[in-house]
Symmetry: C2
Subunit: 315 residues, 2 copies
DNA sequence: AGGATTCCATAATCACCGGTTATGATGAGG
DNA sequence: CCTCATCATAACCGGTGATTATGGAATCCT
């Protein structure tokens, strides 16, 4: 019944004292004001403006509208300002969820870049394994999920989780075999997995364990998993203590101290992909886009070649 | 850029959780919501709604709009409620100005009627002589002026004051000659003004004095005005004291005690008209219309035959 | 799985709101 | 008394914002 335009007109009349100057103040012509007032009057069924001679003044009802106009228009302006602030990266929020081992280097570097580039947006970070972070994304509790996928291995099961989502490849994370420094193969240039079929194995998170089993299966043996821990530092500790061998991604090896163990590249090599995941719509939110760019930059990836498909995803 | 309709839609989506139910809640169809959101999005240049699968949820920017919508829509509703209250006589204001001698009976009775009929409207009353009250009306400081005009006499000078104004005849107020009870003519059935040319006269307000002079002039004499006072009670006191004779309207005689004087009808009779005056626009304001009706009723006039022209105004 | 359902998007259409220019009526002022 | 300033009105017209009809895709149920 009453809209913002009408209030704006009433306020202009109250401020300016005539239709003509109100029209000038609003950038309209005089007849626009004239019939706007008439429409408002027949809509509300009240007399809003008293025409006396060639001057006009507001009636009580008109003054009521003009008075309310101040508050309403201020609130509208405030809303508009907030929106443009979000659009201009002078405000906004990004909720980031990343898997634990990325928290060491990738995420801190990303947050630093974001903070330096857009100091006014607020970033929330939560650690979560890929299945949970993707669920949060789907659920609307998260804007960007940093996930990983083992090449060839569990891409299939992740695939359905990624439907309707967009991914950006951040980096390839090579998986290495970690053995005690005193191990007979410690000095080898590369490790063939079959040579370690008799070892005791230290497995990581469930999906990492799955990857180990998958690799071992193609190498023709079934690994003897003696320990399981999601904590990579603990894994390295166990290896250091000579209790077994483990598959550990480069990302961890670059961040954690591991002087007393040997890290051997696998032959054939095995990698996992580090991915940034979001939804098609969120991708267009400035703060989210900035976060994605920062992630790519922190990972050393080319931001432009980002929306590529997963390597190894079935064509 | 942002209008009330858009905010209403965003709030409905936030409340209902889907376009379809938001459309139902607002009484629209689903495509209306769909393209309303799209318009808002391209107007603000931001993503307001995140479409994930077949569910939708608001982005941060969308939540900002939905949040502001609450306040804005509440303010709009409040304004609308105030307007309808004024239109429905459940609120409103009437500023009444009346000449002093009408304050005795006419105005109190009017206020009583108004109070009984519309207890929620606030009535302001100020005493003012017709020239000032009409000036206030023109100036926007008054809604209804109760004025008087002597028949044939000063209608002309009042006429230009009444241009652009509307008048309602409330009553005819007959003017009587007041003489001391001991006066030789005290028992006469009617008084011819010429018979009192030798008396000392007690004049009232400037315009009443003018009326006296005008009547005396047509009767062929120039009255000896010994006293002037705007206070009719004082006039009656002076007559009672035998200090002169006076012309006093019925309206005063009906209200003030005057036992010891004689009141004689003039021959030819002379009347003044009691008028309610307002502007054409204010006439259509419910509270003002109610006040006019109450005035007519208090004066015993037929409210329907009210907008008549002044008697004696030049056709 | 696969089919039914449900939700959103799009296209085509159309009414009307809300602006414009042109013009007229009228009160105010020199 | 004439002129100017102001509001009202008419005619026109584009864009907003609704509608119906239809399609596509995700979710749900069997």
């Amino acid at each position: 019944m009453i809209d913002a335009a009408g209030l704006r007109v009433m306020k202009a009349i109250a401020d300016e004292g005539s239709f003509t100057s109100a029209a000038n103040a609003l950038g309209f012509t005089q007849p626009a004001i004239s019939q706007m007032v008439r429409r408002l009057e027949q809509r509300t069924g009240t007399v809003l403006v008293e025409r006396y001679g060639r001057q006009v003044r507001l009636t009580e009802a008109g003054q009521v509208l003009a008075r309310h106009a101040v508050g309403v228009l201020a609130a509208l302006d405030a809303a508009e300002e907030e929106i443009t602030a979000i659009a201009g990266l002078r405000a906004g929020r990004v909720r980031l969820q990343a898997f634990p081992s990325s928290s060491a280097t990738l995420v801190p570097r990303t947050l630093a870049i974001l903070k330096a580039r857009h100091p006014d947006i607020t970033v929330t970070f939560t650690e979560a394994e890929p299945p949970e972070s993707l669920a949060a994304l789907r659920n609307g509790d998260c804007d960007v999920a940093v996930a990983f996928a083992y090449e060839g291995g569990d891409l299939g099961e992740l695939e359905e989780d990624l439907s309707l989502l967009v991914t950006r490849r951040l980096m390839d994370d090579e998986v290495r075999l970690v053995v005690p420094g005193t191990h007979p193969h410690a000095g080898d240039g590369a490790a063939s997995l079959a040579d370690f079929s008799g070892e005791e194995w230290i497995a990581g998170c469930p999906r990492c364990r799955g990857h180990l089993l998958s690799l071992a299966d193609t190498a023709g043996f079934r690994p003897n998993v003696a320990f399981e821990t999601e904590d990579y530092v603990a894994q390295l500790g166990l290896v250091t203590a000579g209790l077994g061998v483990a598959l550990v991604p480069d990302l961890i090896l670059n961040a954690a101290k591991h002087d007393e163990v040997a890290t051997l590249p696998l032959s054939p090599a095995s990698r996992r992909q580090i991915l940034a995941v979001t939804t098609p719509d969120l991708q267009r939110v400035p703060a989210v886009a900035a976060a994605l760019d920062a992630l790519c930059e922190a990972a050393g990836a080319d931001p432009k070649a980002s929306t590529a498909e997963l390597v190894g995803a079935k064509a």
